[in-house]
Symmetry: C2
Subunit: 210 residues, 2 copies
């Protein structure tokens, strides 16, 4: 099956299905109907069926979905059955927070290296991982089969660092810098723009019946 | 003008307009056409016109947009002309990272208090703000006109804490816990599900021509 045409909107919803199915699984629930899933996830049953049909369905008429099977399959679709090797660029507070967040590792996202331009941090460790100087980054990426780089650096340096990473073979960038990165088409960028998120909340809080 | 019907998709794009206009402004650029804005933002000029028309337009035929004016107006639409009082619940790494991120304060989002259930943290300070016990939270919210609570706590406690916050008058929740919060309709929730974002990146990195 060729599913390159699946919209990013559908893909954005997959981790949420994965999360809810994981919870059902933890509760020992073995099967679920799209209606039941609809009730707990607060999306329509028809949307659930449509979304999952993109990947071949998984459901059986009159039975619903097998929770464990669907959980595993969505995990595979999300690429979670394989390990990802990550580096993090920027050992500030946010970088430290991400390295210390154990859930990523449970899902197969393993932090292999941390890089920072601040000399005072070089040689220090975050959860057992040594902070290295930027000049060692390219070599490290090549030697350690790194596929994802997490950027927790100011926007002033993010563009240049992203270019460097792309040139040494990084395929995915998880970007927390407050800037849109322009990269070749075969490089995947996922942005977490925290300020944008907070501004959206602010908008929704403001009175708009002017 | 009544603009309650403006879609969340449009609203999601507003912070990005705000960011680009801020950069143009910093560069001393006074006016910009929708075509120029389109080129740097990589969205179509027609989308830009459509988005901004939701709020009354702002553009002038043959002139384009006045950068400073549009920046200010979008800022107002986003509610950034008013200060927001925030508390953060959860003084772990992520909570500390957010408190230390100065850009929020520049936009009028002021952290007034930090709360954590860990006794060892009580009385310690993060950027001059004292970490307080959870039992003081409700009183603090009422006494300090807090409108936004940031949840950087595990999902096991997030649901209960959110209910508590809603009951003492919080209007907005910026939720980093890996759970969907069920709150009354007049409470605004903006989620930052970091794991979901990372899984989406993982999906886009995986080969999908099975």
């Amino acid at each position: 099956m060729e599913d390159k045409e699946i919209s990013q909107a559908v893909i954005s919803r997959l981790p949420r299905y994965f999360r809810y199915l994981g919870e059902l699984k933890d509760e020992g629930i073995e099967r679920v109907s799209s209606q039941e899933l609809s009730d707990i996830m607060r999306v329509t049953a028809s949307q659930i069926r449509q979304d999952l049909n993109n990947f071949g369905g998984f459901g059986q008429q009159g039975y619903g979905y097998n929770v464990g099977y669907l959980y595993d399959e969505i995990g595979k679709i999300l690429g979670l059955h394989e390990e990802h090797n990550l580096i993090i660029v920027g050992a500030g507070h946010l970088g430290q927070a991400l390295v210390n967040y154990m859930n990523f590792e449970r899902r197969g996202f393993i932090f292999r290296g941390i890089f920072d331009s601040d000399e005072r941090l070089h040689g220090t460790q975050i959860r057992g991982i040594t902070v290295r100087p930027m000049r060692e980054m390219e070599r490290f990426v090549k030697d350690n089969d790194i596929d994802i780089a997490v950027l927790t650096i100011p926007k002033s340096s993010a563009v240049e660092v992203a270019e460097q990473l792309v040139s040494c073979g990084i395929k995915g960038l998880w970007n927390f810098a407050h800037v849109d990165l322009q990269v070749p088409d075969d490089i995947q960028v996922e942005n977490v723009h925290l300020s944008d998120s907070l501004m959206k909340l602010s908008y929704n809080l403001a009175p708009h019946d002017r």
